[in-house]
């Protein structure tokens, strides 16, 4: 194959792997937004905290990778329930600004707490997957990347089935659609809210653990979630398929921009591209591809 095409496909392949992670992170945001109309700015800190927790479970307590993943998810879910109960429930009915600021306050609180507890060192996650790479027609992908893609796919399918066929899933969709009617139909909106936060934080934990496998673990991990904002805006804030498509798209754009533009301008383009995309998106299509356009009345 031509080397230019291989380079392109290589960037595309690793872009999809990164995009899957963005999709998972975006999923965490969208779950909360869909049900409660809150964008949780502290999502990135949950990702970072779970990466740290999983790291210490694997290294200090010598727990195998998959049980450690499950324990981390449960811990994150508990944190989600606590956060909803203690911080977000008193804020019900407050203006958007106050709610946004509460989650930002929470995020810097979590981050500095992580700094106090875990310090500022860069930790390297012991890779649980075999290190040999796979070759698909010239493109090289690591086993970790394959695992990321597979588990994203599995998780998303599981969510799809859960929302489509389970009773609680139906209650959640009902709450997202219209809280008052759901309440009248006997759905406990409070319970749905805490469940949603638990689910979202657990999703964030999975994303965090996989991120820890491809990056070093430090406090900066939290910023990855902020780079996932363009993904949720592109997909529309309340659409789960949108989150997935948005995540993949941002992953690919970021990698292509990094691959082609870095040579011209010099480093750092990869980190700033998502924000440029976000800014442009908000200018031209703030409701994303699948979001619903709001009509306001006074």
């Amino acid at each position: 194959m031509e080397s230019g095409l291989v380079f392109f496909l290589q960037l595309l392949g690793s872009g999809i792997a990164v995009g899957c992670l963005y999709a998972l992170i975006a999923l965490g945001f969208v779950l909360i937004f869909k049900a409660t109309e809150i964008v949780n700015f502290a999502q990135g800190e949950v990702i970072m905290l779970s990466a740290f927790i999983c790291y210490f479970l694997v290294t200090t307590f010598h727990i195998p990778f998959f049980p450690a993943l499950v324990i981390t998810c449960i811990a994150a879910a508990l944190l989600g329930v606590l956060t909803e109960r203690l911080v977000l429930r008193p804020m019900l009915g407050e203006p958007v600004f106050a709610v946004v600021m509460v989650t930002i306050g929470l995020s810097i609180f979590f981050r500095s707490m992580a700094g106090i507890l875990f310090g500022h060192n860069n930790l390297v996650f012991p890779n649980p997957f075999p290190s040999e790479t796979l070759k698909l027609g010239g493109i090289v992908l690591s086993q970790t990347q394959i695992w990321i893609m597979v588990s994203t796919f599995v998780l998303i399918t599981a969510f799809f089935i859960f929302f489509k066929y389970s009773r609680i899933g139906l209650a959640m969709r009902g709450t997202a659609d219209d809280q008052r009617v759901a309440l009248l139909m006997g759905v406990s909106v409070k319970r749905v809210f805490s469940l949603i936060w638990a689910l979202s934080f657990a999703t964030a934990a999975v994303a965090g653990i996989f991120l820890a496998n491809v990056m070093v673990i430090n406090l900066g991990l939290a910023f990855v979630a902020i780079s996932a904002f363009p993904a949720i805006v592109l997909g529309g804030l309340e659409s789960i398929p949108g989150a997935i498509i948005g995540g993949l798209a941002i992953g690919i754009i970021e990698n292509l921009a990094g691959g082609y533009l870095d040579q011209m301008i010099g480093g750092g383009i990869k980190d700033v591209t998502p924000f440029v995309v976000l800014f442009l998106l908000l200018m031209f299509r703030p409701y994303g591809l699948f979001g619903k356009k709001e009509i306001e009345r006074v």
């Binding site: 958007v96 600004f97 930002i104 306050g105 995020s107 810097i108 500095s112 904002f229 006074v298």
Partner: protein, 353 residues
Amino acid sequence: MKVLAIRSKTFRESYKEDIRLFQTIWIKVWMGLFIVFLSLLPFLGDPYVVYLVNISSVAAISALGLNILTGFTGQISLGHAAFFAIGAYGTAILASRFSLPFWVSLPAGGIVATVAGLLVGVPCLRLKGLYLAMATMSFGVVIEFLVVTLDGLTKGVRGIAVPPVKLFGYALDSNETLYYLLLSVTALCLITASNIIRTRVGRAFVAIRDRDIAAEVMGVDLVTYKVMAFAISSFYAGIAGGLYAYLMAYIHPEHFSFLLSVQYLAMIIVGGLGSILGSVFGAVFITIVPEFIKSFAEGLSRIFPVLEGRYDDNWNIAAFGLMIVLFLIFEPKGLAGIWGRVKTCFKNWPYTY
């Protein structure tokens, strides 16, 4: 008894009286006493207090700008540090490379920031709430990136050394000499802001905050006033940035991170959204809280030697985060709200209301 009678009730008989800058004679008296106290401070207090006042007055100007945009007009900005940075770099580059005098470079820095504010404000017109928060945040990140990358202009991570302010041939290069300059600029900014707020423009801002569509129906031109709010806010941030550059005598990209934007938001939330006095309260409070935490941590480590050397900046940041959350949940009106309640309590004593 006579004093009580004067203080107890102030009736206003016309709109003109209602929007007066100084509502009662007592406000003028207390203000005068406060000014006398402030101008004597360098002779009374130790140099560290003077330094803290300097830092707080820069923070107060910037917080005031953010409060005009966020507290009064209701437009969330998570990129205030970017305008602050643009003002600081504008002033620093003009002062160091073109050796322009202070009275040119400082307003010029403010104007550069205003232009940036217009550039952001115009495309952000159709956004609000959450989307606006994300847009301004991404603007902040892009500026942070540019400050490091545009090496030729900003000297990147090496930072810029700023020459001291020269006024009538004297170099103001210490905290004590800069003190009066900073204080008078702050006072000017405060008076201007109160005048903006109590006139037509300010009422339009508040109308937009409370219900933008209703405001437009009432004849408030959303485009003009939103852009104006952005411009005023970034001008204040730019001026504060320029003063900061002179005060620190050296600026570095690390000073202008996303955390600084959050810190300004913490100031206006803790101080009081939509309150000029609140911006000042918040700025002073957020500036001195780390000092308290530091001395508290030192005291604690004297009792428990295990904690020795565990204090670092993370504790301050954690405190900001916690304060934002707690104030929003328990005291959304902030310190200005508490101040108002205490004042009413004294004014109406012995009656409850």
